[in-house]
């Protein structure tokens, strides 16, 4: 592994290559394919190609292409042209991308979510309750949408999905699912709707 560290303080650019620690505090443009032990973004980053990191942490926003790695944590928002593949994926905020394929996917969203496929072993998606709902004022629910969600263990809240397939599936509140296919167990919260239920 490389011994090179790159730190951007303010605004700057990171070129393609192998690094040890890449840190962007401010605004950074990752102009090529990079791989690193850790990539930390506190601010705004853009990447045009594959970013591979053992640990990738974004506190802010990332506009990119493909992400691969061990642990990917996003607090804020990510807008990706491609897919995410990693061991552990944590999101607190919003994401737009093709596919998230990870062993564990933990999402706490505020409604901003547009993903084609979420696949892996354990998927937990929780919605955050907007303050106005707590005061009992009806507002438009904020939903995370996906075409396909497939894993062994699935928990969903405030999610719209076309198809959900799993072993142990728990559809929490605020969900609208086209079709659920489950093998071991299925729970559907009151208020959530499931179009079709198939037990394998």
């Amino acid at each position: 592994m490389s011994e090179n560290d790159v730190q951007i303080l303010g605004a700057g650019q990171v070129g393609s290559g192998d690094y040890r620690k890449v840190t962007i505090n401010g605004s950074g443009n990752i102009s090529g394919r990079i791989s690193a032990e850790t990539v930390t973004v506190n601010g705004v980053a853009t990447a045009s190609e594959l970013v591979t990191a053992q640990k990738l942490e974004v506190n802010g926003t990332l506009s990119g292409n493909q992400l691969k790695g061990g642990r990917i944590v996003i607090r804020g928002a990510a807008d990706l042209k491609g897919s995410v593949e990693c061991e552990n994926f944590e999101l607190n905020g919003g994401i737009k991308c093709e596919t998230i394929n990870a062993e564990h996917i933990e999402i706490r969203h505020m409604g901003h979510g547009e993903v084609q496929e979420l696949v892996g072993s354990q998927i937990n998606i929780k919605g955050t309750i907007p303050a106005l709902t707590i005061l009992n004022i009806e507002i438009k629910p904020l939903v995370f949408s996906a075409r396909l969600i497939e894993a062994d263990d699935i928990f969903l809240e405030s999610v719209n999905a076309d198809v959900v397939c799993g072993n142990i599936v728990h559809i929490g509140r605020g969900c609208r699912i086209g079709r659920v296919e489950y093998r071991e167990s299925l729970k559907v919260a009151d208020g959530s709707s499931v179009g079709q239920i198939v037990k394998d």
């Binding site: 394929n101 892996g120 072993s121 894993a151 397939c165 072993n167």
Partner: protein
Amino acid sequence: MEVEYISKKDLLMTTGISYGQLYRWKRENLIPEEWFVKKSSFTGQETFFPKDKILERIKTIQQLKDSYPLEDLARMLSPELTGITYRVSRVLSGDVMDISSAQMLREKIGQEFCSFGEACVLFTLGQARTDGFLSGQDLERIADCLPEWELNSRSGAYKLYVLRTGDANTVILCAKEPPMLLDKALKVLKVYDLDEMGSILKSKINAL
């Protein structure tokens, strides 16, 4: 020949693997992305896999996963995806192909390393000579073209056609899709599927 497909659901039920395992192996390049075929079914879009290939691959992974780290397995089973290179001297050796073809090609190939794609083509050319479709001279002439063909930068499924043209036999290396449309006047002696040749090559190299 029609390829038989198996649905993802049937695959999981038949093999007993979990979603987690399937998607982990996909991430590790043990199951190529191109094997995940999306087809429209009456329930919407469903994913299917080429039946024989996927069942065999899963059986192999299950047998070997406790003996090797997944990364190593991926290099053995999907070299075309993991981008590994081989020593040309290893590919052009008596263990992999007919020794005289190997020697002929070795004289012509200047590089020390080659990609899996290039190794497949070399292996297939050697096989074509062993099968009697190419002469030593044909082999040498074709070996001269290899640098221009830039096999390193090509990906995807290929076929090698051996055609009889006048005095010498010639070769066309073309992509499987879209399929090549041939004039009936062309005498096709043999068509080699590089995917199939690749599988044979993999097992020979892994056994070394």
